[in-house]
Amino acid sequence: MATKASRSAARLMISPAVVLLLGWMLIPLCMTVYFSFLRFNLLNPGDNPFVGWENYRWFVTDPSFSAAMINTLVLVGGVLLITTIGGIMFALLLDQPMWGQGLIRIMVIAPFFVMPTVGALVWKNMFMNPVNGIFGHIAQSLGAAPIDFFSSIPLLSIVLIVSWQWLPFATLILLTAFQSLDQEQLEAAEMDGASWFNRFWYIMLPHLARAITVVILIQTIFLLSIFAEILVTTNGGPGVATTNLTYLIYVSSLLQYDVGMGSAGGVIAIILANIVAIFLMRMIGKNLDA
């Protein structure tokens, strides 16, 4: 691949794929931006006048918008916190030599293979349902009133379900990081008089820093667009208690048939996601260089 001719041939041959992918990405993006400047409601077909920033103004001033922003942040932050800390603990446990290690590892990873809708429905009907759910039964057998998860603590319930789904991912990444830790370093620290906690704090955790960065980065991208779990459990409610930005866009464009408004929300979401991505890259990107 070193000669000039072979290099230009390579460019020529790769160009159809590049053009196709570019079109695939650019056309929907441009159309979303275009729609966001139109008054485009499916209930009033025909005339779609250009209205400038009107859609954006309405979307941002909608009281559910600020609620959705806060919910999105709580959802992402809560799940990140639980999966990172829980993932480190699980990885520590799974790194120990024990009987049936392979089977246990597969079981821990299993939730990741369950579809989000299915997982959320199982949680909704079999665990968190106050009448039929296991948690309800446990509460009753202890003499306490069962908690109605989706009406009393709706957002926390969603956080729990999503954490359950993403915990295996964090565990898997962090476990491989643990396994790549040089055992001689731990032995050296042991000789140096470090207790287990000190070895964890000064040797293991810094070693995990890079893996934790990867976990946070990848999960943030996926958690910003959580949708299925909300749709099948709470439908964004009660009120707007579990409506995040993605769900709000769905409500405007598909429940209120307002394509223009939905598109404006979509563009805002793209901009926000990029701001978060740049922020994260800046903040933890230097961790990846070292």
């Binding site: 050296a188 620290a189 042991e190 000789m191 000064y202």
Partner: protein, 334 residues
């Protein structure tokens, strides 16, 4: 103080006995080298002393007190690992300070010891670098620095020079020897390189399959190897072990003669052979000679300027008083 005594120490992994019961005394201030081929249990023995492995049975005493059950940190020993085991995310300063920080030592005292260690090991200019930015020799010195600031009862070295290139290895060998002279602390050093053992040790412990074959000063081992294994292991190039007819003349199963104790002549001598490969080192020439019954090839050390060519016929005369004799079990006959 750093007296270490192993009494009937045994180590098994499952059904496999790595070290059968073994006794060893290491005196205060001694430089002891464990040497042996790969897999002979020398590193395991060191890790038993360090406390990184549990003994299956037997006791380890450090300065007269039983340390068998003590965790590594409580034994007052410092270890330098083969991979150096530096903490990659800490600066050199923090690496060296780590054991003192764990011991909760006073900050000013920490600074003083770091400065002293850095000065002794030529690391003063590198204190704020990370281990990844250092060369192999510098990393080695940081690992030693981390060990000496603790002022341990004894240092344990686990093949510390095997990751360095040949030139650096010679330099570090000298530095460790000088460090031992200066600190006068017990050092236990594991290596598979008999040159390191010969040049550094006060006392060499030759191990094979977990069994101590011989303990003694380098020259004792060189002059009077207790058996064929030690004879072949100590000395470079290896001792020639001759069996058969020539050995029978000396009334034993095997005779051994070191390459440097054989005279080479092109005109006359006791044994005759043809020259195979000649390694010209400048100062010496190692000639591999074929055709001597019972030992093929037989290595001799000749003068650097000797002119022999492949296929030449040469005559060899061993120095009679330097022939080692071994019996049927491979043990030395005095």
């Amino acid at each position: 103080m750093g007296r270490i005594a192993l009494k009937q120490v045994q180590k098994s992994f499952g059904d496999v006995t790595v070290i059968p019961p073994l006794d060893l005394e290491i005196d205060d201030g001694e430089f002891v080298v464990f040497v042996g081929p790969s897999g002979c249990g020398k590193s395991t023995l060191l890790r038993l002393i360090a406390g990184l492995e549990d003994t299956t049975s037997g006791t380890i005493e450090i300065d007269g007190t039983d340390a068998t059950g003590l965790p590594p940190a409580k034994r007052g020993l410092a270890m330098v690992f083969q991979s150096y085991a530096l903490y990659p995310h800490m600066s050199v300063r923090k690496n060296i300070a780590f054991p003192m920080k764990m011991a909760g030592m006073d900050q000013a005292e920490q600074e003083r010891r770091i400065a002293a260690a850095a000065k002794a090991l030529n690391l003063t200019d590198y204190l704020d670098r990370r281990p990844g930015q250092l060369s192999g020799g510098q990393r080695q010195r940081v690992a030693i620095g981390r060990a000496i600031v603790r002022e341990p009862a004894a240092f344990l070295f686990d093949e510390p020079l095997s990751n360095l290139d040949a030139a650096l290895r010679v330099g570090m060998r000298m530095e460790i020897s000088e460090l031992h002279k200066k600190l006068d602390t017990t050092m236990v050093y594991v290596t598979h390189d008999q040159v390191e053992a010969m040049t550094m040790a006060d006392k060499i412990v030759v191990l094979q399959a977990g069994v101590i074959e011989q303990v003694g000063s380098p020259l004792e081992l060189y002059r009077a190897p207790r058996n064929k294994f030690v004879a072949g292991f100590i000395g470079s190039p290896k001792m020639n072990l001759i069996e058969g007819e020539l050995a029978n003349e000396h009334g034993c199963r095997t005779i051994g003669i070191r390459p440097e104790h054989v005279e080479v002549s092109t005109t006359e001598g006791q044994w005759q052979g043809t020259v195979g490969i000649a390694e010209h080192l400048g100062s010496d020439t190692f000639i591999h000679i074929h055709g001597v019954p019972g030992c093929d090839p037989l290595t001799v050390r000749a003068d650097g300027e000797v002119s022999v060519r492949h296929g030449d016929t040469v005559f060899l005369t061993p120095r009679q008083n330097l022939i080692h004799r071994f019996d049927d079990n491979g043990m030395r006959i005095e």
